[in-house]
Amino acid sequence: MEKSNQVEKFVEVQIKRQEKEGAPIYWETFQIKWRPNLNVIALLQDLQSSPVTAEGKTTTPPAWEAACLEEVCGTCSMIINGKPRQACSALVDKLEQPIRLEPFSKFPIVRDLMTDRSRMFEHLKQVKAWIDIDGTHELGSGPRYSQTLALSRYKMSECMTCGCCLEACPQYGPQSPFVGPQAINQLRLFNSHPSGSMNSEERLDRVMGVGGITDCGDAQNCVKVCPKNIPLTESIADVSGQTTRYAFKKLFS
């Protein structure tokens, strides 16, 4: 067989380590046996089972988060070779080596590659990202709307709150009140629903002050890193238009 004659290949991975917020930061390098179809998760699983550095030193297994491994849950966000993305869909053979893994920098560190991104869910509260239904009892069918609208809403609704757009956004960060692209896109999603639109102005009120839509600096980084290709800049422009019209309406009523 051809394969057995080949020299064993290894993948070099460098991981930024930190035991908890405030603890010293250090890097560790690992050599992991190459196999076909490896992704970054498979590398981290190897280290979980056998946490030995390239120098042969046994260390603690790096901490990381993951769940679905199909890029629909948004859990395994990290910075891979400088880019915020999901570890599950980062295929080793498509990455430059050494592969550098770092935690997100815009959120509190938990440990190693784990960060606390719960602030993103607070942003969803801020923009009232839901439909104010009367109740779950039977009320017949929902409003009719076109397949064109359904497709555009579906695209916006694929947002898995992974945080890549926020990590890439120069305006977003722990010191900044900016709600960021993900929440603005959600606002547009609910304002575009026939019954959701009945509360449009309440949602717009939530992004017309400090930390709102005007904090966007138009860097357009968000849309470049979104793993789901959600048209985030389009959503920002759309909501910006909505706020302008609403501001005029308030002015003249």
Binding site: A42, S49, C73, L91, V110, T136
Partner: protein
């Protein structure tokens, strides 16, 4: 005025969230626990859609037809009354989800569109692209967030369930849980508890399940003596993408939209499902398709290029149609394999997918412990011996719709408030789990816990899935007992007391090993073939002996105490088995065949 009760819901997937919403609507407050932020629960992985006989396609579909398909597809192992109720509520549930803003696909008139799925002849499956589970979960997540803002829901995310606590009367009145970051262990009181903690796919090592689907919560509950039903019924999905870290699902909706399964034979494509099952073709139920693929690959040696894969082919359908209806799953295939499925056939193979079995519940979703409820995949009640595609999202939401109000009603009948209970049983539970945590923290033996799970998974996958032989099931149980002993000799590298993932994993592994036994022994004891459970030595369904619910009840060893909080390696207790009759009063059992059309009528003619 009497103090208001609080409910506890563990698990933030579709079932747990709907339970929470319904409880809030009935005026109660809820403490919601989840090991991950609820929006990241495994429900997101459901792709194809949700069933309900809304009948907008002029096909004469009805809830009774849906009921008959479900019971027939489940090979007559489910108690029929709750299945009927679920199918009757299904159109209302789909309308509700539409009102919540789920971006379901529409028809030219702006109505909900429906597609076909396995085990039915009707267009009955509503869908939002090909990530319907994700979209349904988000809609419920949003409503729960609305209640959170109103102060009716308190979320405890990154908290893992360790067990339930009973009062002096035996009623479930709280839980023990641990924060997976801070590692603190706490008890929480409530008037009733619901578990919506999902399936046990990780017991099989690699599966289509998320990494969080360990089955640990169900196992811990079973280990406290709660009845576990039909453990041996494990669904193996026919089409998953083989992978190093996981076996990614390739939704049945691909076949619903026209994908064909084939292997090359004599230089030509052989569409074996269409040939073997002319009436249903590629849309036979999952157990049937899975066994056919096994036969073609293993018995006939016809896997593609000699590998254990078959083709799932969409390339004859226009790419634009595929992108619109199946975009999300095509992206998954392309992202993880590099091939474009609109151009070349996909390579797929069966993978463990779903547990029909789970905690036993009554028709109000209450387990065998009063005040402890179970909802969703973790309960056993709806799918019998095989689940039909697109019925899982429905059964999760249905269970929540039932459990929420049932828990409220139960709470109102309690004679005391949870805050006034004696603290003894809560203190004992807390002490036990603190002892357990410190036991694991100190483990320094030679065994590697991750290797142990790998070994367990390989044995379970090889012997307790598609084709089952009694000799191999017995050998597997012997192996599980060996792995159970070896668990005590685990060593861990990490002695930290902050976000120590090794400690959590070793604790989950203990539970997973225990859950592997009822799955394996349940299969060993059921000498027949029914739905997903297939024994070549007993190829026929045996309604006389086995049209019964398997009940596994854990008999604990006598020597558990605080000084050895996990008991001793050599005496681990064992499941005891009993068999309950099934209510088949609504549809008379008949043989299940998919090579010809289903005998007409079913439910509608037998009321």
């Amino acid at each position: 005025m009497a103090k208001a009760h609080r409910l506890i819901v563990v698990g933030g997937g579709l079932a747990g969230l709907m339970t929470t919403i319904r409880a809030c609507e009935s005026g109660m407050d809820v403490d919601l626990f989840s090991v991950v932020p609820v929006k990241r629960s495994h429900s997101v992985c459901a792709q194809g859609g949700i069933n309900g006989a809304v009948n907008t396609k002029g096909e004469g579909d009805s809830p009774l037809e849906h009921f008959d398909d479900t019971v027939y597809g489940g090979d007559f192992l489910a108690n029929q009354p709750p299945v009927k109720k679920m199918c009757e509520m299904a159109p209302g549930i789909i309308n509700l989800m539409d009102r919540l803003g789920v971006p379901f696909s529409r028809t030219p008139e702006g109505l909900l569109d429906f597609r076909r799925f396995g085990g039915t002849k009707h267009h009955r499956t509503a869908f939002a692209g090909a990530s319907t589970g994700q979209q349904l979960l988000y809609a419920l997540d949003e409503q729960v967030r609305r209640y959170e803002v109103q102060g009716k829901v308190r979320k405890f995310e990154t908290w893992e369930y360790l067990g339930f606590v009973q009062d002096a009367d035996g009623n479930c009145r709280g839980i023990v849980a641990t924060n997976i970051v801070t590692m603190e262990i706490q008890v929480f009181r409530g008037s009733a508890v619901a578990l919506g903690t999902g399936g046990p796919g990780m017991v099989f090592g690699k599966s289509t399940n998320s990494l969080i689907n360990t089955g640990a919560a169900a196992a811990l509950t079973y280990l406290q003596g709660v009845k576990y039903a039909n453990p041996e019924f494990i669904q193996v999905h026919p089409t998953a993408i083989p992978g190093e870290d996981k076996l990614r699902l390739m939704s049945e909706s691909a076949r619903g939209e026209g994908a064909r399964v084939w292997v090359p034979r004599d230089g030509k494509p052989w569409y074996f499902l269409e040939e073997m099952y002319p009436a249903y073709g590629n849309l036979v139920p999952r157990d049937i398709a899975t066994r056919a693929i096994h036969k073609v690959v293993y018995d006939m040696g016809l896997g593609v290029n000699g590998q254990s894969v078959v083709y799932l082919d969409l390339s004859h359908i226009p790419a634009a149609t595929l992108r619109m209806k199946l975009g999300a799953i095509l992206d998954i295939y392309e992202k993880f394999t590099g091939d474009d499925p609109t151009q070349v056939p996909m390579k797929v193979f069966p993978a463990v997918h779903y547990s029909m079995g789970g905690l036993w519940v009554d028709y109000d979703q209450m387990t065998s412990v009063p005040g402890l409820f179970a909802v969703g995949e973790v309960d056993y009640s709806i799918h019998g011996a095989n689940r039909l595609g697109a019925n899982s999202l429905l059964s999760c939401i249905y269970a929540g719709m039932i459990a929420g109000p049932a828990m409220v009603k139960w709470s109102k009948g309690l004679k005391n408030h949870e805050e006034d209970l004696s603290s003894t049983s809560f203190d004992d539970a807390l002490k036990l789990h603190e002892q357990r945590a410190s036991f694991i923290q100190k483990m320094n033996g030679p065994e590697n816990p991750f290797q142990l799970l790998k070994e367990l998974g390989e044995w379970m996958n090889r012997n307790v899935t598609v084709v089952r032989y009694n000799s191999r099931l017995q050998e597997t149980d012997d192996k599980i007992l060996e792995i159970q002993e070896r668990w005590y000799r685990i060593g861990i590298q990490d002695r930290g007391t902050w976000a120590n993932q090794s400690v959590h994993f070793v604790r989950q592994l203990y539970s997973m090993i225990h859950l592997a036994r009822p799955i394996t022994l349940g299969a060993l004891k059921r000498n027949e073939s029914r739905g997903a459970h297939y024994k070549p030595d007993f190829p026929e369904r045996d309604d006389v002996q086995f049209m019964k619910t398997t009940i596994a009840t854990y008999q604990s060893p006598k020597n558990t105490n605080l000084s050895s909080p996990f008991g001793v390696a050599t005496d681990q207790g064992a499941p005891q088995f009993s068999y309950d009759p099934i209510d088949v009063s609504l549809i008379k059992p008949r043989p299940r065949k998919y090579d010809t059309d289903k005998a007409s009528g079913g439910a509608s003619s037998q009321k």
